[in-house]
């Protein structure tokens, strides 16, 4: 059984594997971008706070 057949129970039948793979990859990329940007901002704030408190 191929991946395409395996995922054909999902909406869009024979194209389900391709459609959901494309949307899934995009969602993961966007979420990673957003979370990493937020995490870096918070980390920078904490690093700078530590730097200023040492002074």
């Amino acid at each position: 059984m191929t991946m395409v057949e395996y995922f054909s129970f999902l909406p869009y039948g024979k194209y389900a594997f391709y459609v959901w793979l494309a949307y899934g990859v995009s969602a993961v990329t966007v979420i990673t971008l957003f979370l990493s940007a937020n995490r870096k901002h918070k980390k920078t704030l904490i690093n700078l706070q530590n730097k200023y408190s040492r002074k």
């Binding site: 391709y18 971008l33 700078l48 200023y52």
Partner: protein
């Protein structure tokens, strides 16, 4: 307008503008994304030739347009930084690069995933695909060059020149389907593009969502970059102390 630009070139005001604009970009992004996904996956009818496989267009086309648009913004901002020595333009250029690279990766991956059922191949060395791949390499080269220098001003100058030279690739990507006999289909927007109004609405909604996403990410990343660059300023110290406590 010029006065407003001059005002924004102050790191403190630029930081505050980014902080103020973040929620104004976040909520419209979520709104347009949710409605856009509903229109793309539920409302839009199946294509008469490609069936439901065509629905990849609603993420592929906006990300491909954004990959070029972000590059243009990056190069223009880099050019402004180079000519007028505006530090905040350098910040916009620098933070745009990874976002543009991500849009390019999404465009390439979704294109490959769409190509497999329609062309029978994940990848072909077609003019559109190859020029888009070159765009990804340009983004990677820009980021590598920008990180190769300790001094942010020197890094911005050299990488901006690279970005400006790379601008020549944008018309090549856009007109590749016209100039060469490509396997890639013609324009998806305008004449010969999507015909059904629901498909057009879905594409427009996802495009607007992508623009808000770009603006949101630039605002968040620019705030971080400004804090790092201006860490020896008094206002950053006050801002950070206030934000953490």
């Amino acid at each position: 307008m010029w006065k407003w630009i001059q005002r924004q070139s102050s790191p403190k005001i630029f930081y505050q503008t980014c902080a103020n604009l973040t929620p104004w970009f976040f909520w419209p992004f979520i709104g347009f994304l949710v409605i856009g996904l509903y229109w793309s996956l539920i409302v839009s009818p199946a294509d008469y030739q490609q069936g439901d496989g065509y629905r990849i267009i609603f993420i592929h086309v906006p990300s491909a347009i954004l990959s070029m648009m972000v590059y243009a913004v990056m190069a223009i901002a880099g050019g402004i930084g180079l000519i007028w020595q505006i530090k905040m333009a350098e910040v916009v250029a620098k933070v745009s690069a990874p976002i543009g690279a991500a849009f390019t990766i999404i465009a390439l991956v979704t294109g490959a995933v769409w190509g497999k059922p329609m062309w029978g191949a994940w990848w072909v060395w077609d003019a559109r695909l190859t020029s888009e791949l070159i765009l990804l390499f340009l983004y990677l080269a820009y980021m590598s060059l920008n990180n190769a220098f300790d001094n942010p001003r020197t890094a911005a100058k050299s990488s901006s020149i690279l970005a400006l030279v790379g601008l020549v690739n944008l018309p090549i990507i856009h007109y590749s389907v016209k100039w060469w006999n490509t396997l890639h289909q013609g324009y998806s927007v305008g004449t010969g593009g999507l015909k059904d109004p629901d498909m057009q609405i879905a594409l427009a909604l996802m495009f607007v969502a992508s623009i808000f996403l770009y603006a949101l990410l630039v605002a968040i990343k620019a705030k971080t970059e400004v804090l790092i660059r201006e860490q020896n300023s008094r206002w950053v110290q006050e801002e950070v102390t206030g934000a953490v406590s």
